[in-house]
């Protein structure tokens, strides 16, 4: 009824005003400013045409892709395992695995330093065993480790939720038809988890592309896009270029997520 519609619009108004004023308008501004620098609208192409930016784009995408693959494998194995086998201590394991869920990127950077930094555990162990100290926290490898650390807890939760919804009867049916355990995994479990894998993977990828805190803690030299944007903005005061790059970065992550959702959605529909 009309009165109800008016009421709903009124209720939506506070969030609408806030969101328009503090997100939509600023984003539009950012887009305009991106085109207002020395190079004009060409700034938006710079990410492809400028050799330095292009290199950081490639390394950003590479580390994000590696993170996604590693996280999905790790979380897939552990998540399905923990969902399927209820043994004493299971709950404690789940609690520990999801404990770092709320760590901000900076803290995760620090965790990487504790493991692989100059005074880190891996350095101490390798020095004791081989006499040579292995330190990789302040490089791409450290960043990769940090992103995996960040992504595993939430991906495990997603996989467990999806595995819970898998109908065990499907597996029983496959086994009754003579499928070996490996075939069951290949033909039933992985297809069943595919939507969860696609969407969780997309989240991994998008956060690894856009995250800033971990790289910031580890080293300002790591050549990934968020660091480049930060440097352009603070050190070079090249606000237009920073705006253009971050707008492109935002668009890329948003598109990745939107594509993944469409893919996951259609898979669900096909399976249903």
């Amino acid at each position: 009824m009309r009165r109800e519609t008016q009421r709903l619009i009124l209720l939506l108004l506070p969030a609408g005003i806030f969101f328009t004023g503090f997100f939509l308008i600023p984003m539009a501004d950012l887009f305009m400013i991106g085109g207002s620098g020395k190079t004009g609208w060409a700034a938006y192409a710079a990410i492809l045409t400028d050799r330095n930016y292009f290199n950081s784009l490639i390394s950003t995408l590479a580390v994000a892709a590696a993170t996604t693959v590693a996280t999905l494998i790790i979380s897939g194995i552990s998540g399905v395992f923990l969902q399927r086998h209820k043994f004493p201590g299971n709950a404690a394991l789940v609690a520990m695995l999801t404990f770092p869920l709320a760590f901000p990127g900076v803290v995760i950077g620090f965790m990487v330093i504790m493991l692989a930094g100059r005074q880190g555990l891996i350095g101490q162990i390798t020095q004791a065993v081989t006499g040579e100290k292995v330190v990789f926290a302040y490089s791409m490898a450290g960043l990769f480790m940090g992103y995996v650390y960040f992504s595993v807890p939430r991906t495990i939760l997603t996989v467990m939720a999806a595995a819970e919804k898998l109908d065990p009867k499907l597996e029983e049916a496959a086994r009754s038809l003579g499928a070996s355990p490996l075939r069951v995994v290949r033909d039933v479990i992985i297809p069943g988890l595919k939507p969860a894998f696609i969407s969780a993977g997309a989240i991994c990828f998008a956060t690894a592309v856009g995250a800033f805190g971990t790289a910031f803690t580890l080293a300002t030299r790591i050549n990934v896009l968020p660091m480049v944007i930060y440097t352009e903005f603070t050190l070079s005061a090249n606000i237009a270029m920073a705006a253009a790059l971050s707008f492109v970065l935002g668009a890329v992550t948003w598109i990745v997520l939107a594509l993944a959702r469409t893919a996951a959605g259609s898979t669900v529909a096909a399976a249903g």
């Binding site: 997100f23 695995l97 770092p100 901000p104 555990l121 910031f216």
Partner: protein, 269 residues
């Protein structure tokens, strides 16, 4: 037996993953309480570093607590009505609105922060106040509140419950107070914990939005990691853990099933 063997293998793997996640936490806690981490535990345990953090960074802790509570208040006031509207009108337009609200989570915080700076940076009173950071945090946490409440509201038959109350004479305000709010309490609770936890740890935006007078806890952490000795960084991290762990435990205790569902749904974005 083959199955036994497979089980052990998977368990071993999971334990290694667990160690990867937990060992650095333990190391960091120890480092924060050790006199000299390089020497090791033999150098003795101390609370000296924790006190030093308290002296130097107390303000960041209070600012973060204040910010997260203010953020909670705002997301409650504007998020619950939004979730209610989206639950009532599950139309294409509703989904578009929900989609847009999630954008600040999908778009890197750096970009959102830059956008806020280019638009409002010249309003110096606003730029230098903590309200500037609050705006960023609300943008980032609002979708979590909305979706958490929306998930609960969509699970109950909201329309019929409201019609039932209306048939007994309840107007909109009564229905909202007596029926809608009590029945989405679980979602509000889960959403609130999520909002406070996320606001407490937000760094990507806050690093660009903060000023020397508005440093939050994660900003202070980044400072300490970059410029101070490992023990102080660790002690500071310990303080952060102490603040975040109760929230996390609460979240795991009575929002776990929903959290799982929530993460799963969130991943669909």
């Amino acid at each position: 037996m083959k199955n036994r063997w497979l089980f052990t293998l998977q368990l071993g793997f999971t334990l290694i993953v667990c160690a990867f996640l937990i060992v650095p936490v333990i190391l960091s806690i120890l480092a924060g309480l050790t006199v000299n981490y390089l020497v090791g535990l033999e150098s003795g345990l101390t609370l000296r570093w924790v006190f030093e953090v308290w002296d130097g960074y107390r303000d960041t802790i209070f600012l973060s607590i204040g910010l997260s509570l203010a953020c909670l208040a705002v997301t409650l006031v504007i998020g619950i009505p939004t979730a209610y509207v989206l639950a009532k009108r599950q139309t294409a337009l509703g989904r578009v609105i929900e989609e847009m609200l999630v954008m600040p989570v999908a778009v890197p915080g750096l970009a959102t922060a830059l956008a806020l700076i280019v638009t409002y940076g010249s309003l110096s009173g606003f730029r230098t106040s903590w309200a500037f950071i609050l705006v960023g945090h609300v943008l980032f946490t609002l979708p979590f509140m909305v979706r958490s409440v929306l998930a609960v509201l969509s699970a109950i038959d909201l329309k019929t419950l409201e019609e039932g109350a209306a048939s007994l004479g309840a107007g909109f305000i009564d229905r909202f107070r007596h029926i809608v709010l009590p029945n989405c309490r679980a979602g509000i609770l889960a959403g609130s914990l999520m909002v406070v936890t996320l606001s407490m740890g937000e760094f990507n935006m806050t690093w660009l939005l903060h000023t020397p007078f508005t440093k939050t806890l994660p900003v202070g952490l980044a400072d300490a990691y970059a410029s101070l000795r490992l023990e102080i960084g660790s002690a500071y991290t310990l303080v952060f853990f102490l603040m975040i762990v109760p929230l996390l435990l609460a979240l795991q205790a009575f929002a776990q099933p929903r959290l799982k569902k929530f993460v799963a749904e969130d991943d669909a974005t």
